[in-house]
Symmetry: C3
Subunit: 188 residues, 3 copies
């Protein structure tokens, strides 16, 4: 019996507004290869300037390390004093919003891309991601489509965040769940 | 007490048939660096053509994104309309077979490489991987040596698949286990 | 309410001795880009030679694959006959010590970097990592700051090691826990 799934019938324009024309996207891709994916130590400020030129909202004091993969800069919003570590992958078919003073650590993956796997043509079911102010996404953690990570939440290293997380909790595991309060004064 | 493990006695020819001579493997490695690992947006069709030249079985309508790491193309079989996402790592010391209409999402890792860790010389214990027709391996998921992922199975993002999975189930976790049917008509 | 977290007040010199001056670090970074991050198949012996020039302790018979990310070589110690696989990330703000005959498999991540997330200025709380003689860190496994992996321990693929592990046990999961003895004669 052949599979019911029909990826040949997938329509890449259904459920996705790429937000810019092909020429702009191609230009962004070229900039991404040279200034973002590359290990060359371009100043973080140059990367921030480029992101803004391509429509990203980027606050003051943002630190962007080398080897970061950002899919569509016009669907990215970074608050003041955000840190983005090496090898971070921001697959933002839909908007990724990172609040002020939030940290996305090395090799973390913010993934807005998804498919409706109960439709045999696998249409996009992409969903935005919000990382609240002061939150910390640990190294190699994965944040799934549609997730909101609460303000000041801490996602420990290697966690897989499939559901939204409340504010100011330390959260851990696969699937990632809240474990204990971040601030000691709220622990009791 | 010194460790019992003796990696200096490891024999790289025991338990592994590389399948081609050194010259062919070196040529493949050069092609891999330029056309596969690179972020340069070569047409997917060029990558498919190269894979076939190096002995891979590749069906029609296959989509291969940039930055994909394929170890030995002559041990790779991709069915019609397969999608392979960015940063996918196919470490195929043994055959990796991906069925028609299957999707391997971004940063997923299909790992056939293993060692017999109860033998102090750490001989290879590599095992093939089969991903069934219409299955979906989610982003950053890991598939371990010897695993068969059933037809139309869905492995959710960030899962670690250490054992084979049945067909048409949504599977999740570390270790990854079947959770619920994919198709609604079979749910009751 | 604005977040309490104040990454703008982070002091990169507090809690971290980078160990070398800026010129040496810049020179290492250049070498890293060309000889380590690159997919070019430089001989492993050249990489070993470079690591030693930059202050790493490296034993005999060490095998270092391409595309390995090492942060600070002068905080790295590799015993005899260590293997380091492709895409391994050694983020060694503090010392990473890998014992003789140990294996760090593809895409594994040894992460010494951390922050005190209960201090609003997010000061470093980096901690060293020790991988014992004859231990094996499986593919895509993550080892967190401060962890000691016991001698001859096996961390299975995709595990997340947040606490130290005893010797000679097979350890698995997220969080990674000891499951069964490695050597059969000690099983009963």
């Amino acid at each position: 019996m052949p599979t019911r799934v029909r990826q040949d019938l997938f329509d890449p324009r259904r459920g996705l507004d790429r937000g810019r024309g092909r020429a702009v996207e191609a230009l962004w891709y070229a900039c991404k290869v040279v200034f973002f994916l590359s290990a060359f130590p371009w100043p973080s400020a140059l990367r921030v300037w480029l992101l803004r030129r391509f429509g990203a909202q980027v606050g003051r004091g943002v630190l962007l390390k080398p080897r970061v993969n950002i899919h569509l800069p016009w669907k990215l919003s970074l608050g003041d004093h955000v840190w983005i570590g090496e090898e971070v992958f921001i697959l933002n078919f839909e908007t990724v919003t990172v609040g002020a003073h939030a940290c996305i650590s090395q090799r973390a993956f913010l993934c807005t891309g998804n498919h409706d796997f109960r439709d045999v043509t696998m249409p996009y079911r992409n969903r935005p991601i919000v990382v609240g102010d002061g939150a910390w996404i640990g190294a190699q953690a994965l944040v799934a489509p549609g997730v909101t990570v609460g303000e000041e939440a801490v996602v420990t290293t290697g966690s897989v965040v499939t559901r939204s997380l409340p504010p100011a909790m330390i959260c851990s595991g696969n699937p990632c769940v809240p474990v204990t309060p971040r601030w000691r004064e709220t622990a009791g």
